[in-house]
Symmetry: D2
Subunit: 379 residues, 4 copies
C-alpha cells in the first residue's frame, strides 16, 4: 500500500480531546450497531444500550461496544454517564424518546425520518432548541467526500446557475408480497413509507448540495402489493413508489423517482444537477467518483485528497483508489456531532431543523399525491 | 475478425427483390443524408432530391447517392420514377409536403414530429390511410436490437407486471444563449421544442417497449435562455426543458426529464422499467447492452445473435462485440419500410398512427404545463 | 434528432467523382458481405463476386449488392470492369489470389493476416509495389475516430514520452471442444491462429497509435482444447491463447493477452498506453469514448466532432451521442482506399507493408513461444 | 436506511470474548493509523505505539486510539500488556522488529513485503513457527467479499479448469521526477520497488483466488525516472514498472503489468481469470461487484449478503448498495487475526508463509528481469 504512508491525507480527528461523548443507544437492531461502531470509531464510548427486550439486548453488547444494558429508557436518561442519546427505534417512538432525552438534558442523534408528521418534528425541534440540546438527524449521504465536492462546486459558481435536478432512489427489498417490515404499518412507520424512508434522503441531499429549496411539488404514489405478509397477509396502506416533480424557490425544476420495489436496484440513489456552466451526477453506490460534465468535457472526478476542495478533502480518510464506504460516512457524522457538542459547528451537520424540513416536504408529498394537485411546501 | 465468417448471423435482407424503392428526398441537410444512405444500403435508389436551394442541392448529390436534383417538389411528385417521398424538412412543412405526396400516390417517410399539432397529424394519418399510402415516422431507436430484446421480454412475461417506467433524454446543444436553430421559432418548429423534438422519442420508445399507454400526465416546462441568437438576440417562447410525470391506462406510473441544456449530455436517452419479475435499463448511447435486473441478479445482456430472442436477432448485423450504431438503425428502418411496401408488415414499424399518438401526448404536455394540472391524453 | 440537421459535421465524401471503384469480391462469407456493403456505401460498385461454389454465390448476390457471379477467379481478373479485388478467402488463399490480382493489374484489398508467413507476405508486398498496385489490409480498428484521437494526442506530445502499452484481445467463440473452424487447421489458417487472427490487430493498433515499434518480444502460447470438432474430433496444433510481452525500439515496454477462449468476452480489444504526461485507454467494444488520464484527471473524451482533433473529426459521421460502429469503420476504410486509388494518400490507410510488418511480429511470436526466449522482431 | 434493520446480515463478531488483543503498533505513519483503527474496531486495545520520534508519536496518540507512547521497541516488547506487535515501519526494519517481537513471545502482524529478500522472509517465518507465534501479513485485498466469492466459485468448480489469469496493478504517485519516498532507496525498501510494493499484492491475490501457483516466469522491469528528488536529485536503481508473464504448476498462463507511473490510475488492481466454464474480473477500485462472464452471460455479481456464498457473506457488514471499503478489509483482517489467536484458524488469513511465498516470487522476478530469461520460482 505504497502511497498511504507518504501522503499527507487530511483526515478527521479520531477524537476531540476533552469533549465527552458517552452515548446511550436506544435500539439494538442493525442501525443501532452502525451507530455504535461510529461512536466507537469517533473515540466516544457506548455507555449503554436500551432494547425492547433486555435479554436480547444483552446478546448485542459485544457488537455494540457497550458497557451495559440499561434496564429502561428512564435508567439511561437518569444516568450521569450519558451525554448523547442515539434513537434507533421504529419511527413512531422517535418523538417520545427524543423529547424525553431532551428533557433530561441530553443531546440527541435521531434516525430519519425525524418523526411521522411535520407537526411532531416541529415540536421536537423546538424542544431541543429550547433545552439547548444538539439534535442531529443522520442524513449520512452528506458525508461522502464527493457530495461535498459537488456542493463546493455549486457554491463556488463552477456549475453556474442551477436549473435542473433529477434522479432516483431505488431499492428492491419490498418487491414481493411476502416482504414485510414494521415500516409497512402506518402506526409504526408513519403515513408515508417509501418517501419517508428514502425519498427524504434524496430531497435532503438535493437541497444540501444545490442550495435550492423545493417550493412546490406534484406527486403521485403507487402500491404494487396491496397485501403483504408471509402468513395471513394483511392490507397495506403505505406506498411502494412515489414520483415527485418540483419547482424550487429560485425557479429550478426537477423530478425524482422513489421505489422500494425495483428489482435489481439495491440502494441506487442518483442525483444529477445541471446548471449554466456544468453538470454533475452522483451515484451513492459508486461514491468514489463524481461525473462532471460540460459542453466540452465528460470527466470523472476522483476522491483524491490531493485534488479536492478543502470542504471535501476534510472527509478523505484514505488515499484515492482505496474505497471509502457507508460506514465511513457514519463515522464522520458522529465525529462532527462530537465536534458540535464541543462547540464547533461543522458545516453540513444535519440537524433537527433539517429533519423538520424533510417532514414538511413529506407532508406536501402526501397531500399532493392524495389530491393530485400541485402543493406548496409549507413551514 | 475471426468469428464473423463462421457464425450464422440472421441479418436483414439487403434488398427485397421486386419491390421498387425509388425515393425522392425532400431536404438535403444532415437528416436528408442519413435517409439517403439508408435508402442506398437498403438496396433502394435515390431517384432525386428536392432542396430549398437548387444550387446547394446539386452540391449534395454525391453525399446523397442521388441521380438528380428535382427542380421542385411538384416535379418530384410528378415523376413516375418515385415510389416513396422522404420528408426531411423543418417541421412546419411536414404536413403540406406529406399531404401532397400522398395525393400524388406516393408512400411517405416523414421525420418526427409528424406535425406541429395533433389535429394536423390526424389529418395526415387519415389522408395516407385513405390513399392507401404507407406512412412511416422514423422513431429509429425502436431498431436497436436490445430495444427489441426488452420488448420481447415484456411480451414474454419475463418482467411480470410492469408498474414503473422512468428515464431521461438529455442533450446540451442548446445550452448557451447563442445556440440557435430553426426549432426555436414556433412558426417553424411548433409550440413545443424540447418535448416535440426528443421527448416524443422517449414516449414512443417507452410505449413501444412496455405496451403501456400514457393515460394522464402532469408536466412542467422551463426555459433557461429567454433570448437566443448570436447577433440581435430575439425572445424565445419554446421550452428548453420539460418534466413529465404520468400514469398509464393499466395503472403504471412514471416520469421523464427532457432537456436540451444539460451540459455534457449529448444524446442521453435512458429508459428504465420495473416490473414484478424484473427490471431493465436501456441507454441509447451504449446500445449494445441491456441491463437486466432481478432480486438476485444484475446482468448485462449483450447484443449477441446467438442468445437473443428472434425479434431482436432479426436486427443483428454483425457478431457480438462489433458495435452497431445509429446508422444501422436507420438502415433497418428503411429496409422494413421497403418490406412493408412489398406487402409484409414488419412488427414495430413506426407509422403515421404512431406519429399521431406522439402528437397527442405532446398536446397534453403543452396543456398540462400551461395549466399546471393533470391532463388526460386524448385521441 | 434535433442537432443533426444543424451541426456542420465533417464527414467523408461518400464518393470520389471520377475515381472508378468497381470491385470483385472473392469470398461470399460474412467478411465478403461486410466488404460489399462498404464498397456500396463508399459509392463503388460490386462488379461481381467469386465464390468457391457458384450456386451458393448466386444466392448471395442481393446481400452483396453484386451485378453478377464470376464463373472463376480468372474471369474476374480478365474483366475490364474490375478495378479492385477484395480477398475474403481463408488465409492460405490470400497469397495466390492477391498475386494473381496484382499480376492482372488490379488493386487489392486483402483480409488479414496478409499471409501465413512473413516470407509470403514480403513477396506479396514486393509484387504489389512493382506492379504499381495499391495493396490494403483491413486493420479496421484504425478507423474508429477515438483511435485517431489517441494517435493525434501522441503525435501532438500531449501524452509525453510513451513508456508503457498493454492490453488484451479476448473472445470466447472457440471456448468449447466442439467449436470448430477452418482457422484451426494450420494448412488453411497458418501456423498461428489466435495471434494471427486477432493478436495481429492489437499489435497493429498499438504501433499505429503510439508510433512505437516492437523490437523484441517474449511469448508463450497455450491450448485449451487439444482436440476439436463435433463429430470425430481431431488433434489441434494451433494455439487458443498467446501472451506476448515486448520492448520497443525506443525502450517502452508492454504486454498483451490474446485469447479465443475467454468466456463472456466477445471482442474485447483493450489498449492502454501510459506516458510522462498522460495515459489513455481504448476499448473497441465501447469505441465512442477514450479514457484520458492524468495525475489530476480521469476524463472520458467523447466522439464529438466539435471537440476532436481534425485527424479524428474526419471520421465522424454523426453527432456525439449517436453511436458509430464497426461497419462505419469498414465504410471509412474503403472510402480511403478509393481516395488512395484516386491519387491521394490518406493518413493511416493500412497497406501491404503493414500486413508484412504484422507477419514479421507473428513469426517472432511463434519462434519465441517455441524456444521460450526473447526474440528480435526482424525484417 | 430502511433495509438495514430488517435483514439478517451475517457479520463478523466485533470482538471475541476472552481473546486478549492488546497491540503495540510500531510506526505511526498512515499505515500505523489504519492498523490502529482496525484494532480498535475489532474490539482490541492499542496498548501503545512506538515511533522513530517520541514527540511526534505523542501527537498521534489520539489518531491511534493509543494508551501511551512506548519509549522504545524494547519497552513495548517487555510489556506484559502487549499481545501482538504490528510492524508498520519501512521495509528494512521488518525483519529485526518482527524477530525481536517473536523472541519476546508476541504475535506479529507485519506489513508487506514481509522482508526484502526470500532468505530473510524464510528466517522470519521459521522463527515465528518455532516460537509458536502467529505471523500475519496484511494482504488485505483478500478481505473484499467479492474476492472471497470469486474464490468460492473457483473452489466450487463453477469456473471449471482455470487456464488464464491476467491483470494489472497501476498507480501514478511516482510519475514525476520529484516524486520521492523511502521506498526508492533499496537500502530501506529492498531491491524491488514496484513489484515488492504492489506486484506482491497482485500475485498473492491471484494465487489466493485461483489456487494456481506460479511455477516459472519471464519478467522485465523499467525505470521512467533515472533520477528522483525535488532538491539534489539522486540516481535511482529501483524499478517504476514491471511486466511479468508466468506459467503455473498446473499449466495455466498469465501476465500482469505493475506500474507506479501510470497517470490517472490511482490504485487500479485488476484481476481477470478465465476457465473452461466461466470467467470473472475483479477491480479493487470498484470492489462491490464481480464481473462474471460465460458464453451466454455477462453478469455483475453484487455484494449482497442474501445471494453470496457463505465464505463471502462472512465479510458482509452492511446490506447491498451500501458500499464497503478499504478500511472494512483491514478491520476484517484484524478480527480474523484475533480469532486465530483465540485458536480458530479462519480460512484465508494471510500468514508469514504467504509473505515468504511472495518474497520468493519477487526474487524470481528480479532474477528474470536481470537475466532476460524464464526463471523457476523456487522455495
Amino acid at each position: 500500500m505504497a502511497p498511504i504512508t507518504d501522503h499527507d491525507v487530511d483526515h478527521l480527528d479520531a477524537h476531540q480531546d476533552g469533549v465527552a461523548y458517552r452515548a446511550a443507544i436506544v435500539g439494538t437492531g442493525f442501525m443501532g450497531r452502525v451507530h455504535a461502531r461510529a461512536v466507537h470509531v469517533a473515540g466516544g464510548r457506548v455507555a449503554g444500550v436500551v432494547g425492547s427486550n433486555v435479554e436480547r439486548a444483552k446478546d448485542s453488547l459485544a457488537d455494540m461496544y457497550a458497557d451495559q444494558v440499561f434496564g429502561s429508557l428512564e435508567e439511561a436518561l437518569d444516568s450521569r454517564d450519558v451525554d448523547v442519546v442515539h434513537v434507533c427505534t421504529p419511527n413512531h417512538l422517535h418523538e417520545p424518546v427524543a423529547l424525553a432525552a431532551v428533557a433530561a438534558g441530553k443531546h440527541v442523534v435521531c434516525e430519519k425520518p425525524l418523526s411521522t408528521s411535520a407537526a411532531s418534528a416541529a415540536a421536537m425541534t423546538t424542544a431541543a432548541e429550547e433545552a439547548g440540546s444538539l439534535g442531529v438527524v443522520p442524513f449520512v449521504y452528506r458525508f461522502h467526500p464527493m457530495v461535498r465536492e459537488a456542493r463546493a462546486k455549486v457554491r463556488g459558481g463552477e456549475i453556474g446557475r442551477v436549473f435542473l435536478a433529477h434522479g432516483s432512489y431505488l431499492q428492491d427489498w419490498m418487491l414481493r408480497p411476502d416482504d414485510d417490515n414494521w415500516r409497512v404499518d402506518p402506526d409504526l412507520g408513519g403515513p408515508t413509507r417509501a418517501f419517508g424512508d428514502i425519498g427524504s434522503h434524496w430531497c435532503d441531499l438535493m437541497e444540501f448540495v444545490t442550495g435550492e429549496r423545493i417550493a412546490s411539488l406534484s406527486a403521485q404514489s403507487s402500491r404494487v402489493n396491496e397485501r403483504r405478509g408471509a402468513q395471513a397477509p394483511r392490507e397495506v396502506t403505505t406506498e411502494d413508489m412515489v414520483i415527485v416533480q418540483f419547482a424550487t424557490e429560485s425557479g429550478s425544476v426537477g423530478t425524482v423517482v422513489i421505489s422500494q420495489v425495483s428489482a435489481g436496484r439495491k440502494n441506487r440513489l442518483l442525483l444529477e444537477v445541471s446548471g449554466s456552466q456544468g453538470s454533475f451526477c452522483f451515484d451513492q453506490e459508486n461514491p468514489e467518483v463524481l461525473w462532471w460534465g460540460g459542453r466540452d468535457r465528460s470527466s470523472m472526478l476522483v476522491r483524491d485528497g490531493e485534488t479536492l476542495s478543502p470542504d471535501a478533502a476534510r472527509y478523505v480518510r484514505v488515499p484515492a483508489g482505496h474505497p471509502q464506504g457507508y460506514q465511513d460516512c457514519f463515522d464522520a457524522l458522529v465525529a462532527d456531532t462530537r465536534a458540535a457538542i464541543g462547540g464547533q459547528m461543522p458545516d453540513g451537520l444535519p440537524t433537527f431543523a433539517d429533519g423538520l424540513r424533510s417532514a414538511q416536504v413529506a407532508d406536501a408529498v402526501v397531500t399532493s399525491a392524495r389530491e393530485r394537485t400541485w402543493v406548496e411546501v409549507g413551514p
